[in-house]
């Protein structure tokens, strides 16, 4: 088994692979991240069968925590499999913070948190803001401290999809991109290493100051979101809210009550960045 490990925010992962290539790719992309002594989670990339290790190799994601019915991916997409495996460990296993399926950036010690359905652009938006004066905190999960309510970064590799790939290729250092994976179940995917500063400061939390529900592909618009709707949406955007019980309830209600929320519709990344910055000036 080829082995790789890295620490992302408060969580450390080790990845075991029956093939060498995914581990080499991971090692290159996670070069800036610290190596843990003891990982929190184990993820394994395994061949569907002995034969499929060599002939049309197919990668099964396994690990400490798994969902049934996971479909295998071709070896060329093993990097995606590893990322999915790590996300799954967080979604199913993490209980140390209230976990929100959201992206976040930071300025002046305050966090702008963005959440929405797949395709809403929350990931791209956090990457764009991370290139323009904000500290990138994460594009997939935001962790809320159960005691203080602070947002704790989880700056894993940024997972760029489809049109977002070209948009970010125009902005970020070419050396920080992973291989382009075409035709994955989520379309084309290319990973981008977060800015060096984002990784160096990944232990630094920020106070939630604004929550946005971005939606890509609609005319420019800003809407108020009622706290009740925000609450429902956030509980559904959290895979551990119910498991955390009272601590989760307390953290979630505090977050909803103290963080202004807006829904924004936008047609382009530039439009979204200016919308977000405008609302930040006004509300944060």
């Amino acid at each position: 088994m080829h082995e790789f490990s890295a620490q992302v925010g408060p969580a450390a992962f080790r990845i075991g692979s029956q093939w060498r290539s995914p581990v080499d790719q991971l090692a290159a992309l996670y070069a800036d991240y610290p190596k843990p002594e003891i990982p929190d989670f184990s993820v394994r990339l395994e061949a569907v069968s002995m034969l499929r290790r060599f002939i049309r190799p197919s990668v099964m994601i396994e690990g400490d925590y798994m969902l049934p019915d996971a479909a295998p991916l071709p070896l060329a997409q093993a990097l995606l499999a590893a990322e999915m495996g790590m996300n799954l460990q967080m979604a199913l296993g993490w209980r140390r913070h209230l976990l929100l399926h959201a992206s976040a950036v930071e300025k002046d010690g305050k966090a702008l948190i963005m959440t929405g359905a797949s395709g809403s652009g929350k990931s791209t938006l956090s990457a764009l803001l991370g290139q323009s004066g904000w500290r990138f905190m994460g594009d997939e999960f935001v962790l809320l401290d159960l005691e203080s309510g602070a947002a704790v970064p989880f700056p894993r590799l940024i997972s760029l999809k489809n049109e977002a790939i070209a948009a970010m290729e125009a902005q970020a250092d070419a050396a920080r991109f992973g291989p382009l994976m075409e035709g994955t179940p989520k379309g084309n995917i290319r990973h981008l290493m977060p800015p060096v500063d984002a990784i160096a400061r990944m232990a630094e939390p920020a106070k939630p100051a604004l929550l946005l529900f971005p939606r890509y592909g609609h005319n420019w618009a800003v809407r108020d979101v009622a706290p009740g709707e925000t609450f429902m949406r956030m509980t559904q955007a959290s895979t551990n809210y119910v498991a955390l019980g009272e601590a989760g309830f307390t953290a979630m209600t505090r977050f909803i009550k103290t963080t202004p929320a807006r829904a924004i519709d936008y047609q382009s990344g530039a439009e979204a960045v200016s919308l977000a910055e405008g609302l930040w000036e006004q509300l944060a």
């Binding site: 969902l67 979604a91 797949s118 009622a226 559904q236 959290s238 809210y241 119910v242």
Partner: protein, 138 residues
Amino acid sequence: MDQDNTENGTKTGADKLTGPTSRRALMLGAAAASAVITVRPALAQTAGSVLNCQIPVPGPHGSGMNIAADGRLVAPDTPGSFTATGQKYTGEQVKAALRGRSLPGTTYEQNRAYMNYIRRLQAGQSGFTCYASLQMPR
């Protein structure tokens, strides 16, 4: 007791000394309309159970009224508003509309008004539970 205090009903409702003249009307709603939504674990909510529900536009509480562009219920003769017949949309149709498709049989403007109406649904109104269940991130 003024209206602004109603949300504190749990803590203060029973203790308030209010004479019959100052009693406010309790919003009882209809017997058939649920007054409770229960939070379900996000991962346990399977697509199947999400997609079987439906949302009427408008629900019984707004029958006979029009829907304004921002989704509010307005009088039928309000300029710029859209008629609505209580047509029911499935969770799947609304989910697609949330992703940018139009609700079946609607014009662009009408679709936006209807979707705004759905977004404004409150607990207890027909369709809210369905809408809330569509808010799953994946």
